[in-house]
């Protein structure tokens, strides 16, 4: 008996690795067709399964800060202003609005047919409550600063005035007035941000920190939360009282928090996801070739850059050196050979495609590679460095294969072109952040910035000497003056001109070296209708629907999940 058992087992055990090896041989084949079918519940409702990066830190619109949280919040809430699939601003909870002549008073007329998920009407008071709650220091909102164009917001955030003094007022149940401290051309765009969402006062006050839990949560968007299993999934179902249900797409949305991009990619291939949140860089080429119908690429409002610490040597008072380092980079090589994700080499600080603005370009953008190298060497010598006295500099980046590859390429470009000695320093994220913020040890550090709203200001204000986030310590009164003037300018053309001048000053001073502008890449199943790439990377589930061409037999049933 043992003889028989052992022989049979031995065969099975020895075959296991062989089986694995068999699978390996098929690496280039696309996954089987049957797994490319949409998920349709037994009752006929369509399900959209979205990969969503990490677990959202909260579903409280006024305390959220991550992209993962915002994605879900856009589905369950609706601001006064909303966004169309292509990112254009469209009326949301407000059907229309009027802007006063001095551009400082906005009057919003709310839709009378808009309702919370519990059936109560959405009123101007709900928006007053939401906006006050966001700027109230007791809420601890990370993004409250985004509301500073509103009268008194800044002093309330600083705890120097009561939240009731905020420049918002309910003129009637459905008329809301917002007063600004200065004309702000991008203000409507801010209202589509989660910080400006309304809140349902009764449920927030009743449940405290737990008001976001399914069963407690009352929201005014196209969907409502019905299930939340931390680190597993968040399920949203249609809000039956949403005013625009007739024009909304899928019935159920399932958000899956999958931090690891490779895991997400594999689950997509296995047919467990309809849409990924990203695409691992090493898989981009494969996806372009093998899944051309699924592969989606769109310009994305973000810049990847290297910051230079201007508060200490060697970059303090040394614009020549900063320019030399920027000139010595071959950005095309970085995007074509290193990142290989169709990113756009960056010669401006503000990404192209931003609303109503043409980014300024660095003076050397049109030069040949030889001319750049020649100028880089000249500036390097002018800054006091030579082969005998080479620049020794530390380049810091946070732990990530991608950042490391880019840093390695850049270090070698600086070495071969200028002869600089670059020490690469890898740091864990929080350690890295602390070093960048305190400016005590950093010299060169990698960074990136994703626009919060579609206006050049979201990039330019970053380098304002008064802005909280400025790891370079850059402070040029002329730059600040241009930006300050732009923020008070009511003439759109003049404002654009001022911002352009500010960007030019920045590119001359070069406290930051822009490397590339982001593109968004993700996989979306061909049976998903209505996906349009947009520069903000905002994809509302209500705009997506599932094409009904798949026969009933092809569709997966919920039971299989």
């Amino acid at each position: 008996m043992i003889d028989f058992c052992s022989r049979k087992l031995l065969i099975v055990v020895l075959c296991l690795p062989l089986l694995a090896a068999c699978g390996n041989g098929k690496q280039d084949e696309a996954p089987a067709q049957s797994r490319n079918a949409p998920l349709i519940n037994k009752d006929g409702s369509t399900v959209l399964r979205r990969g969503n990066g990490a677990e959202p830190e909260t579903l409280d619109p006024h305390r959220a800060q991550s992209v993962n949280s915002s994605n879900i919040l856009r589905d369950i809430y609706e601001g006064l202003v909303s966004e169309a699939p292509d990112g254009e601003l469209v009326p949301g909870a407000a059907a229309r609005w009027e802007i006063s002549e001095d551009l400082r008073t906005y009057t919003f007329y709310l839709r009378e047919e808009a309702h919370w998920s519990n059936g109560e009407p959405v009123t101007a008071a709900d928006f007053v409550y939401g906006l006050r709650r966001c700027v109230d220091p007791a809420t601890g909102s990370v993004y409250a600063e985004i509301l500073t164009p509103i009268e008194n917001a800044k002093v309330i955030i600083a705890g120097e005035a009561a939240p009731e003094t905020l420049g918002v007022k309910a003129l009637s149940d459905h008329v809301l007035e917002i007063r600004l401290k200065a004309p702000t051309p991008y203000f409507l765009g801010l209202l589509a941000h989660s910080s400006a969402y309304p809140a349902h006062q009764a449920s927030v006050e009743k449940h405290g920190d737990q008001f976001t839990q399914p069963g407690n949560h009352v929201s005014n968007g196209a969907y409502q939360i019905t299930d939340w299993v931390v680190a597993s999934h968040i399920t949203l179902e249609r809000n039956p009282h949403y005013w625009d249900n007739d024009n909304s797409g899928v019935d159920v949305v399932k958000y899956l928090p999958i931090e690891n991009a490779e895991s997400e990619f594999k689950r997509y291939l296995a047919g467990e996801l309809d849409m990924t949140s990203t695409l691992p860089i090493p898989q981009i080429e494969w996806a372009q070739k093998n899944l051309p119908q699924d592969y989606q690429k769109y310009p994305f409002l973000g810049v990847y850059y290297y910051g230079l610490n201007l508060t200490r040597a060697p970059f303090k008072d040394n614009p020549e050196l900063r320019r030399a380092l920027s000139l010595a980079l071959d950005r095309e090589i970085i995007t074509e050979k290193v990142t290989r994700g169709d990113q756009i080499p960056a010669y401006s600080w503000v990404p192209p495609g931003v609303s109503d603005y043409q980014p300024a370009e660095a003076s050397f953008a049109g030069w040949s590679r030889e001319k750049r190298i020649e100028e880089a060497r000249r500036l390097y010598r002018e800054a006091g460095y030579s082969d005998e006295n080479p620049l020794e500099v530390e380049l810091r980046y946070n732990t990530s294969e991608g950042h490391k590859k880019i840093a390695t390429a850049i270090a070698s470009m600086w070495k071969t072109t200028l002869g600089a000695k670059v020490v690469m320093v890898n740091e864990e994220w929080k350690v890295f952040l602390q070093n960048v913020n305190t400016k005590k040890v950093t010299q060169v550090y990698r960074s990136g910035w994703i626009g919060d709203y579609n206006d050049a200001n979201t990039f330019l204000e970053l380098m304002h000497s008064k802005f909280g986030l400025n790891g370079t310590g850059y402070s040029n009164p002329q730059y600040d003056a241009y930006l300050d003037a732009a923020s008070h300018e009511s003439d759109i053309n003049r404002r654009r001109e001022l911002m352009h001048q500010a960007e030019q000053v920045l590119l001359e001073d070069m406290p930051v070296i822009p490397i590339y502008h982001y593109v968004g890449t993700r996989l979306v199943k061909p049976y998903i209708k209505g996906f349009v790439g947009n520069i903000m990377g905002h994809f509302y589930s209500k705009h997506l629907s599932i094409r009904a061409t798949a026969g009933a037999g092809d569709a997966q049933t919920a039971g299989m999940q």
Partner: protein
């Protein structure tokens, strides 16, 4: 016996206290804080958050407060998952991790002991060499290599099993294999070694001479004696399962407790890290106690008083 259990339980308290103290001060030593982010907080709001979570108090005061909360079973609010408390996170995650861990352990024990015994019975045969080679491979392949490979083969190419998430039993197959294989291989090698020794011992020779059937000989006499080294391995094995689950849960997207270990530390989620450390500390102490009881049951020479 009861006295022994009480003694062990009392002995665990200082161990846990030291563990807690070390965890508390080590995580505070790490640079950066829970609210550090790329977009820095306005100072007023940061001050407000620090006050809300008592981070503005002197460290010894925070430590005292934490001990007092723990004594009452309150692990505090999570800094990262702001809508949830650490108690909620552990209560949700632990059952999942426990199921996964137990299944992996049982899988490893069952197959490890079986294969090890088979190899021992046919010592130095082709079967023995074959099994031990496979076992060596099993020990050498890290789970973070095995897991993605399995996903590729069984989920992406074959479509037999789901690639991740948690639903039915199918979702457990690959994680259990990935988590249990190395342990199974190690147990197989351990069992083989100790079984060969036991089979050569006098009492087995006597039993054979009396004409006992192989089945009885194995299960009644040889196996319990050969299990002693395997049982001692179970202590470290549990620790291995816990650290292994950190990787496996992330790769397979399983909502267990293991991933909070790493994420909590990376996010400087002080309360979550300490909660998970303390919880796992208790778990390991309990498990070691069970292992000690198993010893006494398997080996009549071992007595606890």
């Amino acid at each position: 016996m009861l006295a022994y259990a009480v003694k062990r339980a009392l002995g665990a308290i200082p161990t846990l206290f030291i563990l807690l103290t070390l965890a508390f001060f080590l995580i505070r030593l790490a640079p950066g804080g829970p609210f550090d982010a790329e977009r820095q907080l306005p100072p007023e709001i940061e001050a407000n958050l620090n006050q809300k979570y008592h981070l503005d108090e002197p460290l010894y005061q925070q430590y005292g407060r934490y001990l007092w909360d723990i004594a009452r079973g309150d692990f505090g609010p999570s800094f990262q998952y702001r809508d949830l408390t650490v108690n909620q996170l552990i209560a949700d995650g632990f059952p999942v991790s426990l199921r996964l861990g137990l299944m992996s352990l049982l899988f490893a024990l069952f197959f490890g002991v079986m294969l090890g015994t088979l190899a021992a019975l046919r010592q130095n045969s082709a079967a023995d060499y074959g099994l031990m080679t496979v076992a060596m491979l099993g020990v050498s392949i890290p789970n973070y290599v095995l897991a993605p490979l399995m996903i590729l083969v069984f989920a992406v190419y074959q479509g037999w099993l789901p690639a991740g998430g948690l639903g039915g039993w199918q979702n457990y197959v690959m994680p259990v294999l990935a988590l249990g294989t190395a342990m199974m291989a190690y147990i197989a090698r351990l069992t083989r070694g100790s079984m060969i020794e036991v089979l050569r011992s006098n009492f087995i020779r006597t039993a054979r001479a009396k004409g006992l059937p192989l089945r009885l000989l194995l299960f009644r006499h040889a196996l319990p004696a050969a299990m002693v080294p395997v049982v001692s391995f179970l202590g470290p094995a549990t620790a291995g399962i816990i650290t292994g689950s950190v990787v496996i849960e992330t790769i397979f997207g399983i909502p267990g407790l293991g991933r909070y270990f790493v994420q909590g530390a990376l996010n400087r989620d002080y309360t979550l890290v300490m909660g998970v450390v303390l919880f796992y500390g208790m778990l390991i102490i309990v498990f070691n106690f069970i292992v000690d009881l198993l010893y006494a049951w398997l080996d009549p020479r071992v007595k606890y008083a």
